[in-house]
Amino acid sequence: MSLPVLLVAGLFLPLFPFSMLFNVLYARVRHPVLRGVLLLVWPQIGLAIILMSSASIPPWLPVWALLTSLLYALRALALRELGLWTSFIATSAWALVWIVLSSGASMTQLQWVGLGISAPLLLMAFLVAGLEHRFGAAYLDLYGGLAQTIPRYTTVLVIVILAIIASPLFPTFFAMLSIIIKVFPVRPSMAIGVGVVWLLWSWAGARVLQGLIIGPGHRDVVDLKQASLWLYLLLLAGLIVSGVYGLGGML
């Protein structure tokens, strides 16, 4: 793969410092639909670029990708604004696609991984918009007590965060599993790095939950409508099915 192509692909399957472009763009775009499109399309552009160029990945690139992933997972720990948190986790997760790529995965598998990572983040973008609409800001430790105030919304939020931090049976879980399983026997240090990323995501996810859902309910805020709840749950069930029969089926 030639260097210019690599640099362009590194914008979409983010490699630091090119990753900063996506995060600036995501912060500028406020509309949830546009954010959702960005989350879905961005890594697919990177994959399409790679698909068009047939050269092999240099061995130092997965290391760079892992460091990028670690950097953003670590930085996500200290974030309180949920929009930014979503884009940082997206950056951290997409960078790992380079590692899957270097382990000789098929393009179908790569696209599944890309979509599997993006899908729960897309739901998160809508949930963040919902919080901004209700409270004026989607901030940790600012109001809290969502479990008491808006229980339906909290149910969806908890499941979506579990999907993002690669809990079973979501596609992200199988994606992380396939990365570690492919990489560990050949490059164990790399696999340990991926394991640390997973650990940092879990920590970041738990911080979001504790900063939002815990505490006494204090405001009269409108909860999700029953129909919206069912729609979210249906989408999440779809994610689980795609995890089990998509990436899970490829194991």
Binding site: L74, P168, G248
Partner: protein, 559 residues
Amino acid sequence: MEQLITSIPALPIISAILTQALASRLDRRVAWLSVTMLALTFALTVVILVAHLAGFDSQVVGATHSWGILLNDPLSAIMGVLISGISLIVHIYSVRYMAEEPGYARFFVLLDLMTASLLVMVAAGDLITLLVAWHFIGILLYFLLGYDMRRQSPFRYAFWTFITYRIGDIAMVAAAAILYYAYGSWSLTDIFSGIQNNPNVSGLMGMTAVQTAAVLLALAAFARSAQFFLHNWLPYSMDGPTPVSALMHAGIVNAGGFLINRFAPVFVQAGDVLHGLFIVGLVTAVIGSVLMLTQNDVKKSLGYSTMGQMGFMIMECGVGAFSLAIYHLIAHGLFKGTLFLSAGSVINAARGDDGVPKNDLYKFVVERRPAQQRPPWLLMAAITLIVPASVLFMAHWLVSQDFFQKQGVIVLLFFGWVTGAQLIFSTYRMRAESTGRLLTMVLASFTVVVVGYTLIAHAFELFLYPQAYFRELMHSASSFNVLWFDIMVIVTTVVIVLGWLLTYYSERNGKRVRRQPKRVWLSFYALISREFYIADVYAWLTRVTLRFAESLNVWLRWA
């Protein structure tokens, strides 16, 4: 039979779905739906266990995938009865205990899902299914411990549990990766037969694949069973509801022992890893017990008691007594579960009358009044050395004549000896009106416990590991260098003899108060009362990491 096996984890899942769906219609009565489903699950597990006791062969219930396989063998059968039994008791207890709490139905949904995950874990026939169940347990425990969403503190400590479990989860994924890479299958039975045929497939850092996997599996077991350095979550996770504490201490924390048993074919081929288990277990057992004795908080003390027991369980695995660890985890699960569930009633009753008889034991333990008139020390010293050893020898002779060939058994025998010696030593220091009677009672109970324990452990071994060659393999794998073995025997004997010499010396010289050792003792006490500052170190590391992440965000302008 296949339907029966798949029904066992399916019933609690169906129960969780129905409980959630019917919660608004049935209100508090929805709990009985959950209890009924659990009672059914328990009945099915009992049927499966009885079938195995009657000679039913192990069976694999497959899925169309390369994963999703359930294994029905004696280990999964016995663990299934334990899990569903304890879970049923916890369910029944929670019906009234949780009645005043908000999110009543949510609690039962989480309990049902936890039970299902535990049942899948013990019956998992492939690595992916095991990993899925293993991860789920950590997540569900996080929400069960943090059940009260109005307060921050339960969630804070639930997070400690969650993150420690995650460390073990990742080690487990790595172990799965190594085993899959080496033996080309997710199925546990395929992997185990592969190991039996070729245990020397190369792994990492000069180790074989089996050794690498065993190290990683041991790490996963350590995180789950609160071994030293990964133990901090356990004593602090008492802020959750009492039924959750009971389920956790009786059924979840034991998963490490189960995991080692499930992967026994890996561990018996892993050589020195078993010795590592023994050392980690020993350190955990000692530290857990020391910390238990120095806590002011009763719940924390119970937490450290569990840690000590888990250490002992891992230690048993380290000496090749795998089935003994299963018996231990069942016994510990039952008594610790009872302790937690009856804690409230005991506290309530003790407010009126503590009910503690003011007898010799009370005077010695609580009032710390040692005896003034004591039996002859030489006689007691001789009893200390001879009686426990004789009882243990007799117990092992009853079950197997060739126990001298099994070093692991002898190591356990020595621990029994030390415990017995300690017991007799304490008896010697007690003020008793009838020393002979007291001593007879102590020796009789010691004999009953040891003989009973040994006989049951032997029965468990025959049930869980019916192949004679595998039992031999377990004992030979855990045997170690004769020099080390002799050193351990000599050190143990010298410690007991020195203890008695010290007693003799202090009796001869009266009660002289020495100031220097007291200061050292107080420093040691300060160290253990702060739990070796391990929690403080973890808290400091957390603060440093978060501050570093904040600084990075500022330097990189939040992009």
